[in-house]
Symmetry: C2
Subunit: 224 residues, 2 copies
DNA sequence: CCTTGGACTTGAACACGTTCAACACAAGGA
DNA sequence: TCCTTGTGTTGAACGTGTTCAAGTCCAAGG
């Protein structure tokens, strides 16, 4: 019966997350995690071949748990700006207790070759889901997105969100006041730029930017 | 006499860089490095308390060795665009043989708390020197930089360079063709934006952007 | 009831970064 | 000449992530 096995896996993952949250990623050893879960060290590796896999499982778990709240954010009325802000806030709220723990990981974020990077092959599914959230936000907004931007714009917004989250993770100001500030100051500009970019007049500029996005995205998909 | 000690240090560093280049950072063990340098393992740690310190020493070494070529690039005639391009090329040329090795490190690049990050306290000196290069390039250019941008503009250009270098490191296309493309497509725009930003008309926009830079830079300087 | 095959589980063992107590040695000072 | 002091130098030992040979357990087939 698979249920027993599933139980064990869950027990180990929960023990791991408990320790990660309490004392950080690097500070929690696999031996401790196994002990906390009352299993042998090797068993933790049976279910999670690398310590990092525990983090991947964390990503997936949180992503799933966040889903209803994301739906709610997208269902809210309000303008595009409101929707984007709501989406970002869901992430802040949800990752709130794990800010420190995430900080320990985010070293990997720049390296698309690293499995835990938000740009990696292994996080692709989660990433696509995140991008889709912004696609929906755009579809449900007052904004008329020109044909040639339909694909790129959600990606750009997702990148913007990633930037905010990264900034938030490293934001040592009390209550992450600075991130608030940055979000307030930048979100308006971003939406303004989006709107401006839709003007027919802007077609040449769009072409240029899409070219750039192409080069960059091409590189990413070439990883591995 | 300090000379003997300096010799030993150098011997270890050279052995380390040789191995790093041959087979990468993670793949070279401290035991191998010590062995290659014909010393005991502990001695490598006497001179370089962490394996990472070998990388720091590499940064410093390369930075010093690059200096004359940077001067040359800055002394060249040509327009601002040429100077910036020349500066970036010096880095590509110099890091060329170490692209793979750098790739293994650049995971750290996003984490300003990590010593090896280009944004960390420990790399501050090197970073400042890099920023100063762009300050010089601007001073020697045809561009009239408005007072309120004098401080920020070199930083922005340095960030642009870091972006290019990062992209180049992960660029798996043959001969890093894609980076070429990106540089060609983006550099013109960057310079155009710089010029446009100097127009008196743009003052409100400048204010906005400088505000943003302030929030971001404030965060960075608050790191440790 | 026994056997068998595969999923599950164990803990010792390995390689690595790192630490450390001990030793070597040169340069003064007595 | 012997002692002292401080810089170099050594290699064993520790804690960590990870691997693995050797079990244990249990459902299905005989």
């Amino acid at each position: 019966m698979a249920a027993k096995s599933e139980e064990t896996r869950k027990k180990i993952l929960e023990a791991a997350l408990r320790l990660f949250r309490e004392r950080g990623f690097a500070e929690s050893t696999m031996r401790e995690i196994a002990q906390e879960a009352k299993v042998a060290t090797g068993l933790a590796y049976y279910y999670f071949p690398k310590k990092e896999d525990l983090v991947m499982a964390f990503y997936v778990k949180v992503n799933a748990e966040m889903r209803p709240r994301v739906e709610a954010a997208l269902a809210s009325h309000g303008k595009l700006e409101q929707k984007i802000r709501a989406l970002v806030y869901v992430k802040f709220d949800y990752f709130g207790p794990d800010r420190k723990f995430l900080g320990a990981l985010s070293g990997y974020s720049a390296d698309p070759g690293h499995r835990l990077s938000p740009f990696s092959e292994e996080t692709k599914e989660i990433r696509e889901e995140g991008i889709a959230q912004f696609r929906t936000a755009l579809e449900r907004s007052e904004l008329k997105v020109p044909e040639d931007l339909v694909e790129a714009m959600p990606k750009i917004l997702w990148m913007y969100q990633m930037g905010m989250v990264l900034f938030w993770i490293y934001d040592r100001s009390e209550g992450q006041r600075r991130t608030q500030l940055l979000l307030d100051k930048s979100l308006g500009i971003v939406v303004l730029l989006l709107k401006a970019s839709s003007l027919p007049l802007m077609r040449p500029v769009r072409k240029l930017i899409l070219d750039l996005v192409d080069v960059i995205a091409g590189e990413q998909s070439a990883v591995y």
